[in-house]
Amino acid sequence: MTVLEKQTALPGAPGGEQHRGHRRRVRRLSGWSFVRVLFMLALVVVFATPLLWMINNSLRTEAAIAADPLGLAGPRLELDNYAVAGEAVAPFFLNSVKLAVLNVVGVLLIGALAGYAFARMQFPGKGVLFAVVLATAIVPGIVYLIPQYALFQQLGWIDTHLPLWVPRVLTPVFATFLLRQAFLGLPRELEDAARIDGAGTLQIFFRVMIPQVKPALAAVGIFTFIESWNDLFGPLIFLNSTSLQTLPVALALFRGEFFTTVSTLMAASTLTVAPVLVVYLFAQRYIVEGITSSGVKG
């Protein structure tokens, strides 16, 4: 860089002037970029404050919160709140984990099968079917929920966990779309080579194709996990028994019953958010890739 600048600066006055102008602009830009980074950090504070406040107050006593609502003094590592909240939250936590596992495994399997079929197999009705799959994305959830309630009543599914995973697993619209894109991006030679070696369709699918789309599978898995964990409507409408409730909905419904203090409520909220946050921070790359490829190509 410096060598280049020296070289351009060497030949006479006009080049020198250009060079000086260039340097001035570089310095001004770096001043701007300092302001920009400061501004971006200020925005990080805005976006992080509610979550930090939640974690901070989950580690303080009720008296400390009342005396200093902003919590600038920082946490006191008051783990009693977590003892209280953890005991109340544990059964709901397990319900949420169970449903998340069922949903992730199911959506990945059914979504990958359908995505592969739409990307690589020839069968009559394929185009129409794919259009139908995409069209379902525009229907507001509330339109389905009311008749689904009647349907599950007839099936005897109300107040069981079935309505919270069977429909989601069998209608993996986003997963189908995303995995179709991923399979479309693979070279055909992969399958052809395996077929010449005498592999059947299922073998090719599980042994050859699935390992090639791991990033897309990760994106789908993470999205499904988050969606299943944070689901509000489903548990709210289809469950009656307290013992079956999921963590976020239990938090919304029974907050007055179980968590009478701000500190325990914030501990319970932290426990509700923690699994998703951990998964997100470790796998955020896949989330971004997932959103980007589901959006529009410019």
């Binding site: 389905y144 009543q153 946050l277 989330i287 980007t292 529009v296």
Partner: protein, 308 residues
């Protein structure tokens, strides 16, 4: 020799090929079968039941009775419904411009700078999007308390803050703030991917021509970002009409009915008031409205969306 064998070979190959094609079709259908069953049972059938229910008076227990278009004609006279539509439109009017402008700002900021810093900021701004709306709303309920964090901070600069969630005007403002704070990450990532796809040569050419930063933004960045902006607008409209979680946890539609948004009112009719027919009619009305709005937006896109 070849003259002799070729016809027989193709005579054998034709049924063989047909059998192969049939096998491939069967395999294809087997692969999509779970999805087809799922869409038929849990989406298509409910959609039809919902349409059927919207022409009936139905409490979910007794036999529904056919009432024709009564559910639909009753809507304009339902003051609570009209109120909920107004509030939903106010929410949309407040949240969409804020979300889109903020998402654009964040995306432009993240697009500058190195890969590591850019990914750090993107991660930070996107975090609220993945967190449970219940937990978030509980935290913000504390923030918007009369003596809560927001009013404490406002007090530091000499502003006497309102009683947010207990105030019929400011409760909706609070709902908008939480919704924007939580929802801005998704459009930001979409817009950022659009920004990253803009060829660097265009900016270099603009530099050579001595274009000012605003000219670069309005003449290069914004036009080339219109496909992503269009996608963001469509999805934001669909999402903001369906706002529910924040209202359910933070305000329960109150104070009075000041934050009783449309979906909250439909939800109450269906699962609290036992008006499944009427609720279905309202849900269908919203569905048709969203379809109409999306079609209009698709038509209008020719006027402003720039496809390179």
């Amino acid at each position: 020799m070849s003259v002799l064998t070729e016809p027989t070979a193709s005579a054998v190959a034709r049924p063989e090929r047909r059998r192969q094609r049939r096998r491939a079709a069967l395999q294809g259908w087997a692969f999509v079968a779970p999805l087809v069953i799922g869409i038929a049972v849990f989406q298509a059938y409910p959609l039809l039941v919902s349409l059927w229910a919207s022409f009936h008076s139905w409490d979910g227990f007794t036999t529904p009775t056919w009432i024709g278009l009564d559910n639909f004609t009753a809507m304009p006279a339902d003051e609570l419904l009209v109120n909920s539509v107004k509030i939903t439109l106010l929410f949309t009017l407040g949240s969409i411009p804020l979300t889109v402008v903020l998402a654009l700002l964040l995306a432009v900021l993240c697009n500058r700078g190195g890969r590591i810093s850019s990914s750090f900021f993107r991660t930070a701004y996107f975090t609220p999007y993945v967190t449970s709306i219940v937990a978030i709303s509980l935290v913000f309920t504390q923030f918007f308390a009369p003596e809560g964090v927001i009013n404490q901070v406002l007090g530091l600069v000499g502003i006497d803050g309102p009683e947010w969630l207990a105030d019929s005007t400011f409760a909706l403002v609070a709902v908008i703030v939480v919704a924007v704070w939580q929802g801005v990450g998704y459009p930001m990532v979409i817009l950022l991917s659009g920004l990253q796809a803009i060829p660097k040569e265009l900016y270099e050419a603009a530099d050579v021509d001595g274009a000012s930063p605003p000219a670069r933004f309005f003449r290069i960045t914004l036009p080339l970002l219109t496909p992503q902006l269009f996608f963001v607008l469509i999805t934001q409209f669909i999402l903001s009409f369906q706002i529910f979680g924040v209202v359910f946890v933070m305000t329960s539609g109150g104070p009075g009915n000041a934050t009783s948004v449309f979906i909250y009112y439909v939800f109450q009719n269906a699962f609290s008031f036992g008006q499944l027919g009427y609720a279905s009619a309202m849900a269908w009305a919203m569905f048709l409205f969203i379809v109409a709005l999306t079609v209009i937006q698709l038509r209008l896109q020719k006027k402003w969306v720039f496809y390179a």
